[in-house]
């Protein structure tokens, strides 16, 4: 009997990806988690176990900030789920309509903000919404709605929602593209068969297309979840590390940055920062697991 040959080519082909991924993703991830178990006391780094997490969740000074950031983060996510994804699906449905003219133009125009840097988007919107130089007050004035204008980014009650909507504006192209691609894969025959049974127009969308693109919507939801709970850039560029006004736009990313690197007179604390990063990792992991095992496995799939 011949001994089984080791199939070297598998190792060789996997090696580059495994090495790079380990070096830039897996190692830093576990090292961050390890860092969260230490603390620096009198210039000495010592092992403190779960002490940092205890401080984070039970010390009122820290936990208040943590729950505030987490709550804001959920609101940020909810706005995306309620606004970005339905609009994305609607745009995709409209774009896939065969008789729509200039579809390619709209598609590109809506997708372009996605490729812009956060800094540009944040700065541009800050200028647009500026009560002093912005065009938003003037445009509202033109239609006689000046009274509706408020310095949104500076008000505790509006700032976070405003920023979430700016982020929606930037990223609505992504669900649109993914759903658009999913819609294109639906075979004509199915729609025609439906038509023969009298299902056309809106009914065709709700009864035939939507069930077929549900898996894509699931993927988009989970991408939105991961993206939102890792968000940082937009808040940092528009509101700074203190996520003003009065921490009303503070999300986990800015809270982690401020703690890890320090801010103004506050010195950086890499160990507490890592603990927050660890908590973020756990939240995202739990969210993704709920989706993968709770929702995706139960989703009905259709053979097309």
């Amino acid at each position: 009997m011949q001994p089984r040959r080791i199939r070297w080519h598998i190792v060789v082909f996997l090696a580059p990806a495994v090495l790079v991924y380990t070096a830039v993703m897996i190692f830093p991830l576990f090292n961050t988690l390890r860092l969260a178990l230490y603390s620096r006391i009198d210039q000495e780094r010592i092992f403190v176990g779960m002490e940092n997490f205890r401080t984070l969740f039970f010390d009122p000074i820290w936990s208040e900030q943590f729950w505030n950031a987490l709550g804001n983060n959920f609101w940020f996510f909810i706005v995306h789920m309620l606004v970005q994804n339905p609009i994305g699906v609607a745009l995709a449905a409209i774009l896939s309509h065969p008789r729509l003219r200039f579809a390619a133009l709209y598609r590109s125009a809506i997708f372009i903000p996605t490729i812009l840097s956060f800094v540009i988007v944040g700065f541009a919107w800050k200028l647009i919404l500026s009560p002093i130089w912005g065009i938003a007050p003037d445009m509202l004035d033109m239609v006689g709605l000046k009274s509706l204008f408020a310095p949104w980014l500076g008000k505790e009650e509006y700032a976070l929602t405003t920023l979430a909507l700016v982020s929606v504006w930037q990223f609505v192209g992504i669900p649109m593209m993914l759903i658009y691609a999913a819609l294109l894969t639906i075979p004509e025959e199915i729609l025609e068969a439906g038509e023969i049974d009298g299902i056309t127009g809106f009914a065709a969308f709700w009864k035939i297309k939507l069930p077929l693109i549900l898996p894509s919507i699931g993927i988009i939801s989970i991408l939105t979840f991961v993206g939102n709970f890792n968000a940082f850039d937009l808040i940092y560029t528009t509101q700074g590390a203190l996520a003003g006004p009065d921490f009303s736009t503070d999300i986990l990313g800015t809270f982690m940055y401020r703690t890890f690197f320090g801010f103004q007179l506050q010195l950086g604390d890499p160990h507490m920062g890592s603990a927050i990063a660890g908590a973020m990792f756990a939240i995202i992991l739990v969210g993704v697991c709920i989706y993968l095992f709770g929702i995706q496995t139960r989703m009905r799939r259709y053979q097309m």
């Binding site: 980014l153 500076g154 505790e156 003003g244 007179l265």
Partner: protein, 417 residues
């Protein structure tokens, strides 16, 4: 271990690289003053290089808001420059305690500075000094002289006159009475609370009492400035809640606002932008004739990276920073930043001169939250930003703000417990 080997390898390549360039030593300066890049490159560095052949200097600033974070990471990684521009108090003290800054107490140049000037860069017991003091900034208000003349107003000296002037501009309607926003938060604390506050808590007397635990943030003199800030809201422009720091600067230099709560660091920038005549007045006192107190804040120092391979050259540079020659170049190239050395320096810029003239009339102090009190969590300085904004917006009463700050400070600072 592997890290050390890597460091040695890097260091040796760096040495090889520097020896390749004839015998010149290149010193790199870390700084947050990216606004001053041209000044360093065109005036300060050439003057030093001319006097010290063989030493080249490179000024590599980063953005002010990110400086502390960037510097800390660089020092940890061993890639920071030879000379470190020092933030006052704890940020630099922490660097010294961590062994990143060298002790400079033995330098002759240190004798050129007063104890107050050195206090911002010393250990708590004053036994070691680790940065050469470079400059301080003075707080006050800059005003549009043309606008004041138009309405026939004089620069106010008392609080009643101050609000009367603002009211006059509001009634007139051609100017925004005062240009300040709360979006970036720090202006409210730095140009608001710590600007007008020293008149209430009597400068150093109150500041030291707070550190000693003899006064509390709930005391009248620490709460009253918040009540005054609350009155500012009526005179700030429409939508001040979303107005940023650059917005305020632009509003004032475009001549659309009458008064600008300022730090003297604005002087050189404003001189280039404003085409009207500017004047400055000090924080108004309660009653005419009261002793005035100004915030004359030790703001910039410069120290040496303990890991620098060019220690000798770096010390030469620091000694030069302590000299009168440097003070003169610096003060006049950067009007609004006042050298801290004992040698008298003639300042030519009229606006900058107005600010510095208050040193003779008023008692000087520094910002109340900077020394020792912002060491713990929650951070008193950051909390003061939020509190000052809340006071202006009126979202909380001055008493509630004082109580909240006191509670935060008492949670970690023993003398206040």
């Amino acid at each position: 271990m592997t890290r050390n080997i890597l460091k040695m390898a890097l260091a040796s390549t760096a040495l090889v690289a520097t020896t390749a360039y004839a015998d010149d030593v290149t010193l790199t300066i870390e700084s947050w003053r990216n606004d001053d890049l041209a000044l360093w490159q065109e005036q300060i560095i050439p003057a030093f290089e001319a006097a010290n052949p063989g030493i080249k200097v490179k000024f590599t600033p980063s953005a002010p808001a990110e400086y502390n974070a960037i510097l800390n990471s660089k020092l940890e990684a061993g890639s920071a420059g030879d000379l470190i521009t020092c933030r006052p108090f704890d940020a630099s003290l922490a660097l010294y305690d961590a062994g990143h800054l060298s002790d400079l107490s033995d330098m002759d140049a240190m004798g050129n500075f007063s104890d107050v000037a050195k206090s911002a860069w010393q250990t708590d017991d004053g036994s070691a000094s680790f940065c050469v003091p470079m400059a301080s900034v003075i707080h006050g208000f800059i005003y549009n002289k043309d606008a004041f003349a138009e309405l026939g107003l004089e620069a106010p000296t008392t609080e009643a006159e101050f609000f009367a002037a603002l009211e006059a501009f509001k009634a007139d309607g051609n100017y925004i009475p005062m240009a300040m926003g709360t979006n970036d938060q720090w202006e409210a604390a730095t140009m608001g609370y710590n600007n007008i506050g020293p008149n209430y808590w009597k400068g150093e007397e109150g500041r030291r009492a707070l550190i000693a635990g003899e006064q509390k943030l709930t005391d009248e003199q620490w709460v009253a400035p918040y009540a005054t800030l609350a009155k500012w809201a009526d005179y700030l422009g429409d939508g001040y809640e979303a107005q940023t720091y650059p917005d305020s600067q632009n509003l004032f230099t475009l001549g659309r606002a009458a008064v600008y709560p300022a730090g003297s660091w604005e002087v050189s920038g404003f001189n280039n932008l404003a085409d009207f005549e500017m004047g400055a007045f000090k924080p108004p006192v309660m009653n005419a004739g009261d002793t005035c107190y100004i915030s004359d804040h030790t703001d910039i120092g410069i120290g040496m990276n303990a890991a620098s391979p060019n220690a000798e050259a770096a010390r030469t540079f620091l000694a030069w920073v302590g000299s009168t020659e440097f003070a003169t170049i610096f003060a006049n190239a950067l009007p609004g930043f006042y050298p801290l050395s004992n040698a008298p320096v003639e300042i030519e810029d009229p606006l900058a001169k107005e600010f510095v003239s208050w040193r003779g009339e008023c008692e000087s102090t520094i910002r109340s939250t900077y020394q020792i009190l912002s060491r713990g969590t929650p951070n008193l300085e950051n909390d003061t930003w939020g509190a000052s904004v809340a006071a202006i917006k009126g979202t909380e009463t001055p008493e509630a703000l004082g109580a909240k700050l006191q509670e935060g400070l008492a949670s970690w600072y023993a003398p206040q417990q």
